[in-house]
Subunit: 281 residues, 2 copies
């Protein structure tokens, strides 16, 4: 049996009792580490201590190259594949499930919170979100802007847009690939600030008035952890905020209901402080 187990968003104690029971009876425990993040309160040593067994970090390369072996083990014994958030949250693990099922291996999923539902904590109603978008890191020569059309469609319908921000973990540097020997770049996580800069850059290029620096957004960082922070403000205002360590995500707010407004107010930036002359505290 292959157990796909969501760890939730905070630390090792966000696993469910059901998830923990499953991990404890598995002969091998893998932690998917290429889309997830270990820096937000989730420490490998804490997981190993809680589970009472070693946890094998499975990065992208390992999963791609050794997936058959991992799944072969699941034919005769119980194998756990741990995923930060929910196994079918922002990043789905459909490919792993498809492979397993094709090999005739039973798969059991143990759900948990994902960024896709936990963002509801800011007060915006989940059923008022349109399509979610991913914002990739721009390079000098590569500035994909397909997210712009999706945000436009959402805004025309008055819907909120969740922007998932790029995570680059264990990416081989282009230089090293040219030299034929892989050297990995340090992990890189997009900040809300970079995301807003890129969004405004694309608005300038496309000029279809989808949003502007006055558009209300919600910045959410380290969701579900003790160090969670939520700030509501215009794009211009949020650009001035230091949100600190990853993970960051951003919501572009659509039309709101009064109950949503009331919740958003709790997270609003102190208005007086945007203009230094008016700042009294």
């Amino acid at each position: 049996m292959l157990y796909l187990i969501g760890l939730g968003l905070g630390d090792e104690k966000d696993i469910s009792l059901k998830g923990l029971e499953a991990v404890k009876k598995c002969s091998q425990v893998y932690l998917e580490a290429y889309t997830s993040l270990l820096s937000t309160g989730l420490r490998l040593s804490a997981l190993e201590e809680l589970y009472g067994r070693p946890v094998i970090l499975a990065d992208r390369e390992m999963v791609e190259q050794e997936v058959e072996q991992i799944l072969e083990q699941a034919r005769t014994s119980d194998i756990a594949f741990l995923v930060v958030g929910d196994p079918f949250g922002a990043t789905t693990h459909s490919d792993l499930v498809v492979r397993a099922r094709k090999m005739g291996i039973e798969v059991k999923v143990i759900h948990n919170a994902s960024v896709m539902n936990a963002v509801g904590i800011c007060g915006l109603q989940l059923y008022r979100f349109g399509e979610a978008v991913s914002i990739p890191f721009f390079t000098e020569t590569w500035k994909p802007d397909s997210f712009y059309d999706k945000i436009k469609a959402n805004r025309l319908l008055g819907l909120h847009t969740l922007c998932l921000l790029d995570i680059r973990v264990k990416e081989p540097s282009i230089e090293s690939l040219c030299r034929g020997k892989k050297v990995y770049e340090p992990p890189k996580f997009m900040t809300i600030n970079t995301a807003i800069e890129q969004l405004l850059q694309i608005e300038t290029n496309r000029a279809e008035s989808v949003y502007n620096s006055d558009t209300t957004c919600v910045g959410l960082v380290r969701l579900g952890s003790e160090a969670q922070k939520i700030v509501v403000g215009s794009m211009r205002e949020l650009l001035t905020v230091d949100f600190g360590p990853p993970l960051h995500c951003l919501i572009i707010v659509g039309n709101t209901h009064p109950i949503e407004d009331e919740m958003l107010e709790f997270f609003a930036m102190p208005k007086a402080c945007f203009n230094a002359q008016n700042c009294t505290d």
Copy 2:
């Protein structure tokens, strides 16, 4: 402190370790029981045994009438308010949070899986969903169809639509209200079959060709529990399925990627059996 704790979707063991720790230190434990459901594996006695303390069922009336008292308790002691799924999932508890914050009471949220992210298990990617819709029970004189426009907008964009189906728990009967003494109707949960009938009825009325009986859908019932069932088929096909006990939900499938198709195939109805002449098993 007011703890808002998600219980997840299956049974008592879907609570997180963090959630359980919080419940155990609370002096009063309430279980929100007007939007949630106790019939899918979640038994009050099992919760009480696990927590080692009584759990007070808080129905809609109680929450509306006694919310101030509940929150007053949270001023001086730790109070747990348990919610099936995630506190900010399909049904948000923003109003409770707003009230608490206005009274100066600290609120801590412990997330869990919600139907809004757990539907990803069928293989459809969460970021390819448009706005979610609610399908209410039609009556002879009341057939609201605002969901139709939302589904239309989603389908024009090629997006999937999650349909949340009506739950009616502890609703006073109209008759009893006329007599001035409340008598409650038995709980009522919309089945996938009723939802599809109503959807097709509205398509007939509106005739804007948003979907038809050949449109591919996914029926998901008792998500996250041992008795979970997922069936993929056309609306016409799904109408013939007995999905059993609640909760039911339905996805109207938009444009799919190949990896989504591969996953959906696992849940497809046996094609040969739709036409009795072709049915070989």
